[in-house]
Homo-oligomer: 340 residues x 2
């Protein structure tokens, strides 16, 4: 028996097959979701396109779904927001296997489910290539939102997790021979970091606990100021975007940037740094906040998180070397991934 395809089921048939993955609210022209009193809604959107963001070589269907969900949820986490729901716009060729689409939705709901986030709406249509267009929305108290434009000179720059792993995983998937020098567990870890990134809502919980323990939540005005964004387009991009939006500069110590430990023996220093700074898709958080809060946050997050530098009054982002082995270097947006 040949495998069932989208064109065999038709639009209504496919919709019926996907309905079990969606929340009960699906069925109207739009989904109606209550917002908690005093909170604002946060909206974000991310596209994943076959041949650009994923391919059969690098990403099984479940991982496409997981990454699409994670990319959008990460944007909410980077705003300090709690997720409420997502909509899924899916365009795909009629020849797409039904099992592929179901695995895509399984990946989507596996990631979303970890954060109690329902699929509340969607649209499906025919197209030459698969595109997954997700819009996510969440809620946040407006004075607790994390914004890019709120960094100030003297802020410590906290980076969660390790950078470069997603890029390394992608390169191993594209060129398997690259992974030959690695232990199998490291190889698997890097691939998993690429295929199944984790949005860092746990960082928000840590921040919440710190503010509570410091009784800072009772200071309604002025509220605790945290600038930040996620590192979806690379760590360097995140620091540069925050600095541009806040009209400040930054000094980053290359020795403080957390990378996967296996990079040390596997890659040259410059290759490792390049992937950590410009690789992208690690979906970690880059936060600028008062040094005392930054230290508490890094302590709670454990050894993967680090204070990598400080916000300055300059207009440039400079990479310095705490060990004085390398000259200073100015970072620029042009070295990150460009779609065109």
């Amino acid at each position: 028996m040949s495998e069932e395809r989208v064109e065999d089921l038709g639009e209504q048939g496919l919709l019926r097959r996907l309905l079990p993955f969606c929340a009960d609210v699906v069925g109207d022209d739009g989904a109606l979701m209550p917002i908690a009193p005093g909170q604002s809604v946060v909206v974000t959107t991310d596209l994943l396109v076959d041949g650009v963001h994923f391919s059969d070589r690098t990403t099984p269907a479940a991982a496409v779904g997981w990454r699409a969900a994670a990319a959008n949820l990460s944007d909410l986490a980077a705003m300090g927001a709690t997720p409420l729901g997502v909509t899924v716009g899916l365009s795909l060729p009629g020849s797409t296997k039904i099992s592929w689409v179901e695995q895509l939705y399984q990946g989507l709901t596996a990631c979303l489910g970890k954060y109690n986030t329902p699929i509340v709406g969607g649209d499906i249509c025919r197209a030459g290539a698969v595109t997954v267009a997700i819009a996510a929305f969440g809620q946040v108290f407006p004075d607790r939102a994390i914004r890019r434009n709120m960094a100030q000179p003297g802020d410590a720059i906290v980076v969660t997790g390790r950078h470069g792993a997603s890029k390394a995983g992608l390169e191993i998937l594209l060129h398997p021979e690259l992974g030959n020098g690695l232990q199998e567990s490291d190889r698997q870890m890097l691939i998993e970091k690429h295929q199944y990134p984790v949005p860092r809502f746990d960082v928000l919980t840590c921040l919440e606990e710190i503010l509570l323990s410091e009784k800072l939540t009772q200071l309604a005005e002025p509220s605790v100021r945290i600038a930040g964004m996620d590192s979806s387009d690379g760590l360097a991009d995140a620091v540069l975007q925050i600095c541009r939006a806040s009209r400040v500069g930054a000094e980053i110590d290359r020795q403080q940037i957390s990378m996967p430990p296996c990079f040390k023996t596997w890659l040259s220093d410059s290759q490792a740094l390049n992937w950590a700074l410009y690789g992208g898709e690690d979906f970690e958080l880059v936060l600028c906040l008062a040094p005392n809060l930054a230290q508490m946050l890094v302590q709670r997050l454990g050894k993967e998180a680090a204070i990598i530098g400080v916000i300055t009054q300059q207009s440039t982002v400079v990479l310095v070397d705490g060990c004085n082995s390398y000259p200073h270097e100015e970072l620029s947006l042009d070295r990150g991934f460009q779609h065109f």
Copy 2:
């Protein structure tokens, strides 16, 4: 000088060119939007794909943008919601002309601007074909939301506007010789209905006025019950979907269905009815409500609106003929547009 293309500008260059079309809130990982106290957020999404929903033959770039905005806004109107903002996910080939993209955004903002709706976020990436993925969000008092599953036997079925015009406009664009028998003004009107549909927020205003004049807004419990949806997938589809969600049936009088007056001399009766019922993309509203309110609504909306039938306790949607020239006929979802 050859015309500038997306690949000439690069991603950052294109983003800079599009930023003037967006609201000031663009620049963070997500957009932060306040919701009025007591209201819920409504979210919806619609995809438009080159070669499926539009093509150079039928739809100039500005009309692609307008229709993408209108399709999403119409979903909000169909929920009884006021729009707050949209996100725009755009995937396109690097060879796309910059002027085409700018006209797309001009069309988007021209439609959105009529309803004070900002573009609050987006994503751009490379792809083989142009896809416009819009998510729209709005707000509504939960007990005033228009839902599909709230129709009850005895409700009058109100249809706004005339149906079949968008399909007729599309057919004329695809086969210009079809329009030969038409007056130029009618030909233009049908094409405009296809390219620049109008979301029916004015119907919500009319409903508001009626409820106010009838002092029905003071009856907090039970609230005024209005079931409905838009006719984006066809008039027949809308009635069928409402009936399915509400577990009721309907009787529709074919003589009461409003169509463009030029259909009478231009098309056979059955062709005209076919386009009116199944053509789709007219983006009108189909509402089920108490007969006295329905009559007031139709009076306010003017001669294009009509009561086309009644909700019944049956499980079928039957097309009857008030003039007894045609036999009864059962409507089914299978005759509408199917993507696969």
